[in-house]
């Protein structure tokens, strides 16, 4: 049970980390758009 449980927890944790990493990267790339929009907005 302990082996299965630890395997399951590892898989879920790594999956959550992968999703958080993907989300962070997406927002970081989209933040580039925000800076271009800031540029288009003007001073």
């Amino acid at each position: 049970v302990s082996a299965r449980l630890s395997r399951a927890v590892l898989v879920v944790s790594c999956g959550v980390l992968a999703l958080a990493l993907g989300e962070f990267f997406l927002q970081w790339v989209l933040y580039t758009e925000t800076f271009l929009r800031r540029f288009l907005f003007g001073a």
Partner: protein, 444 residues
Amino acid sequence: MGALIDSLEQGPHGVVVGVVALVVIAAQVVVSLKAWGRAVPEPRRRRMHVLAGASILALPVSAGIAVHAARGLIVYGLSAATDPSEKATVLSSGISGQINIIPFLVMTIMVAVALWFVGLWRSYGAERGPARRALVLYGLLAVGFDALALGALRWTTALIKAFAGMAGVEPALKPRLLERQLADGRIELEQLARASRWTLAGITVACLVLALILRRDEDAAAEGRWARRRGAVSLAALALAAVLFLAARPMRAENALPWPPAGQGEVLLIADPKAPDLEGPDEIERAPVVQVWADKLALDLQPQDDLDAMKSILQTLRVNYGLLHPEGGFNRVADLLIGEGVSADRLKAVLRAVHDVEYTSPAFVFAREENLDRPTFGRLRRVHVTAARLKLIDEYDAEAAKDPKGGEEGTLVRLADFRDYGALARRIVALRASGAAVALDLGK
């Protein structure tokens, strides 16, 4: 390769990112070759792979610093730079830095991770067991990022192409083209990010099912060791996920809030004196800017003692215009930013001075401040500016042309019929909005 190096050089720290990437990829190649040779004993072999994997972190860190510096340049260029050429240089460097580094990061990180994984698999993937299963999980999760990586690559390369394609385009159209590219690009990037998210979720669920149904295949001592190791990795993964989630929050808030349309045409940074709250149908043209208050006067932001001083400078500017535009005649344009309550008498004196030095095709300019509150940028301010063009004539023009409109087209408006600028401006904007040209008669 040359184009790649050139593109990296355009942004801040781009060359450093390029060198870091070369070193990291070279390290992965060396470690993979060593792993293939099987000459490295444990625990040196494990240390070698851990160090090689850790070195990959230098890629996002260096690229992150470079992109952060590029974004800092954009903020500096828009808010603090005063010299126009410096402003253009830092903005160009900031924009290039962002959109060139991101695809470079994506490509180099994919190459580095693939090389690292090849070495790891050679060292630990050959035999069945917990190490191989962990490698399969990590490998599958890495594949789950492919759609997102493709999205980031396509998003930035489309943007680079859009900038390159704007080279010959009329300046007034460029903001609209860039806005459209950003809107279209975002849709595709978000679709691919969604595909990536579902792939990662699917891989996680599939691996979870496998993890639950697989029977144990280690002895009790080894199983206990692996369980502790898995527990530590799981905790670290969840903690890192929480940090990433929190770090993404301000960016998510900024990215989710829409922006108003881009500023149009020429930029005027002043909204003083307070003009009538009108939306002129014409765009402002680059020309000398005359600010008129009830009791003072300025030309191109320089206070003027009196009308004669202003006329003298306007004459000089007219001569300069001729030197700069030898192919065409003088355009006769001045941008007049006039306070709403300025009296007709005061207005007549100023307009006559402008007319005397042949600026007979001026524009009444309507400028007002717009404020925008953003989650991370705070309060942003810009001046929204529109104009209404007109022709200035006086009684002598009418006599000379034997025409009440002084030979000009359109509707004749007499300054004498208005008691202040606000009333006159409303009339002229209404006429221009209906498509009529306007000739403003200053009288004697």
